[in-house]
């Protein structure tokens, strides 16, 4: 195991223990910038950790980023680790997001679905859902990206516990989801919320459960164009962007539809690399390039949130 975050191998996939150990090292190395919050516990009682990056102040406007809500999308957790280190480096070098941290906090949940993540390492690499038991069914788990209280249970999710898009028995039934809901509500000052998935190279904004355009659609669309242009500038990776329902398909109960309805205008969801050569089995050598290009888009969104207070 690496002894500090400088020698940590960002070009490899890691177990949950290694990622949690990385988080502890990052906090220990940067006590004035990084802290670790436990916002809840998973179904199998694993801690749900969020890294808070803050240069001070109380209840500052904030940016939320989560990775790994679908456990098999390993490049997202790996990118989350890279983002965490990048924020610290930018702050130390007074570049990049350093200026954002002057006025805003950043919250980063790297392993949003820890039970599922452990399951992908130990039993089934292709596991996507949570690991909650479903009463009356032998099938396990709920799709945590269909479990939010935004068009919950409508078309675009499944009522069958044996499917990958099972929405769960009721909104927020999954502790992994409920913990974020409680955190967002209690914080009350989150201005941008980005939930990161893979794969298919998309940047999406609300809505997914209705064809009614989001009231801020034009601004979100223009911001998406800028973010995608920044992303593509690094390695030429091609992205599409638009609302969830028009760009992919109807999806009810999804994360950013809920956050948008909570008043978080800059709500986005990413689908990282690739477009289908490897799918969820993206080679480790692509982790850093993926994280680097995604970071450029994230920075555009974060800077826009900072420069357009509401």
């Amino acid at each position: 195991l690496s002894l500090n975050t400088d020698t940590f191998n960002y070009e490899a996939y890691h177990t949950i223990d290694e990622i949690y150990s990385f988080m502890d090292m990052l906090v220990a190395e940067n006590p004035n910038l990084v802290s670790k919050l436990e916002i809840g516990r998973s179904t199998e009682n694993r801690p749900l950790y969020v890294l808070k990056f803050s240069t001070g102040g109380t209840n500052r406007p904030a940016i939320w980023i989560d990775t790994g809500i679908h456990s098999r999308e390993w490049v997202t957790q790996a990118s989350g680790v890279w983002f965490a280190k990048k924020i610290v480096q930018d702050h130390a070098n007074n570049e990049g997001v350093a200026s954002i941290l002057e006025t805003m906090d950043i919250f980063l949940e790297i392993v949003t679905n820890p039970d599922g993540f452990v399951f992908t390492h130990t039993k089934n690499r292709m596991w996507r859902k949570t690991r909650s038991k479903n009463s009356g069914s032998i099938c396990v788990g709920v799709d945590p990206n269909r479990n939010w209280d935004a068009g919950f249970g409508d078309a675009g999710a499944s009522g069958n516990p044996c499917t990958e898009t099972y929405h769960g028995p009721y909104p927020n039934s999954e502790p992994e989801v409920k913990s974020i809901v409680d955190f967002v509500k209690s914080h009350g000052n989150i201005k941008a919320f980005v939930s990161i998935h893979s794969y298919s190279q998309l940047l999406l904004y609300p809505y997914g459960y209705t064809e009614t355009p989001a009231p801020d659609e034009q601004e979100l669309h223009e911001l998406s164009a800028k973010a995608v242009a920044a992303l593509t500038s690094l390695y030429g990776t091609k992205y599409k962007y638009g609302s969830i329902i028009t760009t992919i398909y109807r999806a009810s109960g999804s994360t950013v539809d809920w956050t948008y309805n909570q008043g978080i205008k800059y709500s986005f969801t990413f689908e990282l690399r690739d477009t289908g050569r490897y799918g969820f089995l993206l080679p480790a050598k692509q982790i850093v390039p993926t994280a680097e290009e995604t970071w450029l888009a994230l920075k555009v969104i974060m800077e826009h949130a900072r420069d357009h207070p509401y």
Partner: protein
């Protein structure tokens, strides 16, 4: 640990409503235990399906009988998983 020996990931890109419907029909065939990595979204958009080895013949026959062309995106999922596992071991040793 669940193994994925012989599982393939097929890519289908429906070019007509009929082709899209044929792919969508696969979603209802639960006994085939298909895992839609990318679900059907519309014409011209790829659909990626992880097909367990025992279902391969049935799925390919279903597509071929309907004239729906497909490509094999991943020949053997377990082979890729083995590479991933080896890389992780090598990295943790380092």
């Amino acid at each position: 640990t669940e193994t994925f020996v012989g599982h393939q990931v097929l890519r289908v890109t429906p070019q007509s409503d009929e082709e899209l419907q044929k792919v969508q029909e696969l979603q209802d065939l639960e006994h085939l235990q298909l895992d839609f990595w990318l679900a059907p979204r519309g014409l011209g958009l790829p659909v990626d399906i992880r097909v367990p080895f025992p279902s391969l013949q049935a799925v390919k026959a279903h597509l071929e009988a309907s004239g729906v062309s497909y490509s094999i995106m991943i020949e053997d999922v377990q082979a890729l998983l083995d590479v991933e596992q080896m890389e992780m071991l090598r990295s943790s040793r380092r």
